[in-house]
Symmetry: C2
Subunit: 308 residues, 2 copies
């Protein structure tokens, strides 16, 4: 069984609220690590609704400082305090968010939080690795919006191959050889036969990746960064009929999102951040699927699995 790599949509509207959609927020589960991406108003309500443990969320990524992407942060932090959190909470965002949040905390006279808020300022000039552990790396990269804004790329690390159980047994492979075989070595049996590596191992699953791009105008500079991602979430605030509006506000149309997906040769495309003027994003979806068939319009509380 493959370990989980899946995205839960908490909010998919743009700045204006609708009765069915919340402002931007999503949770990515990579191999049991949970990452909160953007935190619009209502995020904590949606976290509860989707039965995601608050205590599992240790890393929050805020793309930019428009309210519909971070107004839910103070409520999220307050709830962590009420829940008695002690673990560090990491926030990757524009450096100014620290000043804003500190003002709020001081105003609320919450005193000592019981845990550390660790702010990691984003680089809005170039792509940069902002998280790296034994399982995955996370890279931020500049988008093109009215204010400084970053996208995020989540990529699993290359895994080691597994040694076939029957090979271990039939060739009587000693434990000391396992590391070499996993690294690609052939095996010399006691009888002097050379067993080629590919007969000894099951190749590992290819590393999966997810890219988050919101908010942004059509921006080809992101293509090399997100090239070949298995799943791309790209904003599509407007349909082509509102292209002039998209341009003025530095947002994308469904068609533009699909062109990015096509050029970056991603696996699947998810569209979101729909303007409240569209009761149904079908028109946006249709112009995208005409260019990139594997496109889906996201909905709240839906889970999208990242597969290779």
């Amino acid at each position: 069984m493959q370990m989980p790599f899946q995205l839960t949509i908490l909010g998919s509207s743009s700045a204006m609220p609708t009765s069915k959609r919340y402002p931007t927020a999503q949770v990515l589960n990579v191999l049991g690590r949970f990452f909160l991406i953007d935190c619009g108003e209502g995020t904590q309500h949606q976290i509860r609704k989707n039965k995601i443990g608050f205590g599992r969320l240790d890393h929050i990524f805020i793309s930019h400082l428009h309210g519909d992407h971070f107004f839910g942060l103070i409520g999220f932090i307050s709830t962590q305090v009420l829940l008695g959190r002690t673990k560090d909470l990491h926030i990757y965002a524009h450096s100014e968010l620290q000043r804003y949040t500190q003002f709020q905390l001081d105003f609320l006279t919450m005193g000592e939080l019981g845990f550390r808020l660790v702010f990691h300022p984003l680089n809005f000039k170039k792509a940069q690795v902002i998280f790296d552990d034994e399982k995955l790396t996370i890279t931020s990269f500049p988008l093109k919006h009215r204010i400084s804004c970053c996208g995020f790329l989540f990529r699993e690390k290359e895994k080691e191959p597994n040694i076939k159980k029957e090979a271990l047994k039939s060739y009587r492979i000693p434990i000391r050889e396992i590391k070499n075989i996993k690294a690609g070595a052939d095996f010399l049996t006691e009888e002097g036969a050379i067993i080629p590596n590919h007969e000894l191992v099951i190749p590992p699953a290819k590393p999966r990746s997810f890219a988050f791009c919101s908010d942004t105008a059509y921006h080809e500079k992101i293509i090399p960064v997100i090239q070949g991602a298995d799943l791309l979430y790209h904003e599509a605030t407007f349909a082509e009929s509102e292209k002039a509006m998209a341009k003025t506000t530095f947002h994308s149309t469904g068609k533009e999102a699909a062109l990015i997906a096509q050029k970056a040769q991603v696996g699947k495309l998810l569209l979101g951040h729909f303007s409240a003027r569209y009761k149904d994003p079908e028109v946006i979806l249709n112009e995208a699927t005409a260019i990139f068939p594997e496109t889906y319009a996201v909905e709240e509380d839906q889970v999208y699995v990242v597969v290779r």
Copy 2:
């Protein structure tokens, strides 16, 4: 037909979010005037869901500065900006909320809003009329909480009686007499007969009233202010089994809310602000109805009509 006087519940949870309840917010419609009472996170989403026009909300009452009662304000204001509001928006709250909101607006570099935010500081020492027009008065009054907190009483004004149409016709009452008759005068016919006032008029509907009390510990000092209110919303964060917790946190139990309702001889009691520990507020409701039978546990998106 009576003019509307009704309450829509937008949020009924306490500080911790649940999957079904939002933090405190409600909209009171008094004769077509809409008042927003508290503005927890998610209020604007709930306003949309309940199809209440943002443009009709000109007066916001914030009971106190705990986050679950005002974290939704900045999102509400941002949406008013997006909607192109020009009318003044009045906010009745602790004076410090102005500083907090101004910091947020400056941070968001929203510049000129296009409308005036008019802050009205509350008096936390004594009851005070904070709104008065030809239809109703609104009075704030101190509650007993960990921080300064006010309740609000909304009361229709006494209406004039209507003159019976058949009386106008059969006694040939001249227009110049109408004002006097409405004020209680009898009428002298051309034939010299005195027609007593009660035969000429239909008495007006009695003024209706609604009191909002959240958050507060059991506090008998509010009784004279809310005496005889037709509808009382009183917080009931806990059940009696958690009375010690209620005391420490300056909240009420269901029983305590019912005692206030009973002593103040209100018409109906609504309970809300339930702690997230109660999946169902039935236990809180039951201890209240044992004392004050006309008690209801509120739910999101329900409308409660204020009747005499």
